[in-house]
């Protein structure tokens, strides 16, 4: 038995996965656990302030977790909030670019010191391109996860 609900403080979807009845019956207090009691037991693990708690079907596949924190409820189904997906992707991109940009900055400093103007221009261009990729992602109106991922080639290449 699984129950999905939305946490009010951040809108994240949480999924409560109940232990099986046989497993629970091994606990002395649950020796004669009925189906109704079982459901009540699992539901008790859902906070009182949960938003839209709902039992979701066992057949619902939740193994795709690349953007787990971007899940949103859609009835008793769970889909992705694409804005959250984009935010996640932006955060990941910025995290990935941070060491790259730092390395390019060091290379640029060496080119300035050495007076290598050509190298300076090449590095500056590379840093601009990377910034533009992030900006493009931020400007993207997300349509799908695939679109978002395609908009961040750097992550694909990392």
């Amino acid at each position: 038995m699984r129950i999905a609900y939305t946490r009010p403080e951040d809108g994240r979807v949480l999924v409560v996965d109940g232990a099986s009845i046989p497993a629970l019956k091994k606990n002395p207090k649950n020796e004669f656990l009925t189906d109704d009691e079982y459901k009540n037991l699992i539901w008790a693990d859902v906070p009182d302030d949960a938003i839209s708690p709902v039992e979701i079907p066992e057949s619902l596949d939740l193994t795709y977790r690349e953007f787990r924190n971007a899940w949103k409820q859609d009835g008793n189904n769970i889909t992705h909030d694409l804005e959250k997906v984009k935010d996640i992707q932006i955060e990941r991109t910025e995290s990935a670019l941070k060491p790259i940009m730092q390395a390019l900055s060091e290379n640029l400093l060496e080119a300035i010191i050495s007076g290598n103007n050509g190298e300076q221009a090449s590095i500056m261009a590379k840093k601009d391109r990377l910034r533009n990729d992030v900006n493009a992602l931020k400007a993207l109106v997300p349509q799908s996860i695939e679109q978002i991922k395609a908009a961040t080639p750097i992550l694909g290449g990392i």
């Binding site: 409560v16 996965d17 497993a23 037991l41 699992i42 939740l62 995290s95």
Partner: protein
């Protein structure tokens, strides 16, 4: 008494001047003749006229006496011809001829004879043609068949009326046993026999043999020659039980002054093992279950292993200082039983049986008896089984008891046992668990474990490990740590939360 002495002294006469005188010689010769006539004649020509004192001497070389007035020689006495003869007539009418012949029967007269035939009932003896006299045994009882055997030297004494037979009664004593044996002719449980000769009264120590006609069905009596019914007892004073006597069985009974005690093996005695115990003022009654405390026998009780070491059941109380204990097998004479019911040693009352198997803590379940009727059954000394109580949660949490058993329901309460654990996949799907109601997938690299039975406080130990090929590690969140919930994180070296392949949580502590 007369003594011979002479009248004259011839030398004295001569000295006195008295010459030979015819008158003196005649008187002296007459005096000689008188003296000779006073002496016994060796030829038998003179006989005593008064008793003859022998002065301590004896007649020697005497011939055997032949007339009733003759002396008997020692040889004659040894031969006893005067009182012994060979029977010359035959069965039941014996006749002998003694020499010298008797003129008449005299009370106290003893006769011995050699019978040529055995008797076939009442018999007589005639001596020297005098009137035949009945031969009696036991004072005045006619002989039975074969009381006199061919060739047996029979001795009888005339009692003034009959010849009382002194010789052993061949038929009675040696063969037919009629004096002590009788075939029962009474009904079941009321046996009766007729002995011959009939006893006049019951005498303590009197021993009889009885062939039982019908098996007994309980307490029984025996009546000998209508002297009165007496109860038959076994083991001194116990009434018989059904089947103790069986048809055609010959039993021996000895009269003890009140009852006839059965000394024979009886019907059920072979079905048990008994022991007679002497213990002053034992105070036991039939049916008491006993144990031996090392010094004396006491009542057993299933309230402890030591008190439940029963060795037998009191099957008979002989007297205040003696009792019979049955160690195994059939026991009779009890009360209040139900056929087919199994009885245990009572944990509540010493010495008693109970049909309710003990189940109380520290009691002993000891099966001892199976009844086959309301008064009997079989004693079976089985091994006792201690009744252990199940450990409570408190017992487990204390963890010091050695007298309770751990049941699956409470074993986890021991401090050494994990109170909960779970193995879940990356999304919190429970693969196996104990004491976990659910796992909440909170987000990437973050799950909550919801314990079913909460810990009594947050002072419990919990560990989390993650299964992953990446450089991830699992950790327990401090902020959200609660008695009923444990939050776990999986963190990469970045650091950033990341999903592992699976999670494992395990927790120890008090609940």
């Amino acid at each position: 008494m007369s003594w011979f002495s002479r009248l004259r002294n011839w030398q004295t006469d001569q000295a006195n001047g008295i010459g030979i005188r015819a008158d003196y010689h005649d008187s002296e010769d007459d005096n000689f003749a008188s003296g000779i006539n006073l002496a016994i004649n060796v030829a038998g020509g003179n006989v005593p006229t008064a008793n003859l004192p022998m002065g301590g001497f004896k007649h020697t070389g005497a011939a055997d006496g032949s007339a009733r007035t003759d002396y008997a020689t020692l040889g004659q006495v040894q031969v006893a011809a005067s009182s012994y003869a060979v029977d010359s007539v035959g069965a039941d009418a014996y006749a002998i001829t003694l020499a010298p012949a008797i003129a008449a029967y005299t009370t106290g007269q003893v006769f011995r004879f050699y019978p040529a035939t055995a008797n076939t009932g009442a018999a007589t003896l005639a001596v020297n043609g005098l009137a035949a006299k009945s031969i009696k045994k036991h004072k005045d009882v006619d002989l039975s068949d074969n009381d006199i055997k061919i060739g047996q030297i029979v001795e009888v004494v005339y009692d003034g009326t009959n010849m009382q037979m002194l010789s052993p009664l061949y038929g009675v004593v040696t063969q037919n046993g009629a004096a002590t044996f009788g075939a029962d002719a009474g009904a079941s449980d009321s046996y009766a026999v007729t002995l011959s000769p009939a006893p006049a009264v019951y005498v303590t120590g009197m021993s009889i043999y009885v062939k039982i006609n019908t098996a007994n069905t309980g307490a029984a009596t025996i009546n000998c020659n209508s002297l009165g019914a007496k109860t038959i007892k076994k083991r001194y004073n116990s009434d018989l039980a059904t089947g103790d006597l069986i048809a055609n069985q010959i039993i021996n009974l000895v009269y003890d002054g009140t009852n006839f005690q059965l000394t024979s093996v009886y019907g059920s005695v072979g079905d048990n093992i008994n022991s007679t115990i002497t213990q002053a003022a034992h105070g036991f009654v039939a049916g008491d279950i006993l144990r031996f405390n090392g010094t004396i026998y006491v009542k057993a009780q299933a309230d402890s292993a030591a008190n439940a070491q029963a060795i037998g059941i009191v099957s008979a109380v002989v007297d205040v200082d003696n009792f019979t204990i049955t160690l195994s097998g059939k026991v009779t004479g009890l009360v209040g039983l139900t056929a087919g019911v199994v009885y245990f040693l009572s944990p509540l009352t010493a010495g008693l049986l109970t049909s309710t198997e003990p189940t109380g803590a520290s009691q002993i379940s000891k099966l001892l008896f199976i009844a086959d009727s309301t008064t009997s059954g079989y004693f079976i000394n089985s091994r006792g089984r201690p009744i252990l109580s199940a450990a409570s949660q408190s017992d487990q949490e204390t963890g010091t008891s050695t007298i309770v058993y751990v049941s699956p329901a409470v074993q986890q309460s021991h401090p050494s046992s994990p109170k909960g654990w779970v193995f879940a996949n990356a999304s919190g799907g429970i693969q196996s668990s104990y004491n976990v109601t659910s796992v909440t997938d909170v987000g990437t690299g973050e799950i909550n474990v919801n314990w079913d039975v909460d810990f009594s406080s947050t002072n419990y130990a919990v560990g989390v490990t993650v299964k992953t090929d990446n450089a991830y590690f699992g950790r327990v969140a401090d902020a959200a740590f609660a008695a009923g919930l444990t939050k776990g994180y999986c963190t990469s070296l970045a650091p950033a939360l990341a999903d592992p392949s699976s999670w494992s949580f395990f927790a120890f502590g008090d609940q």
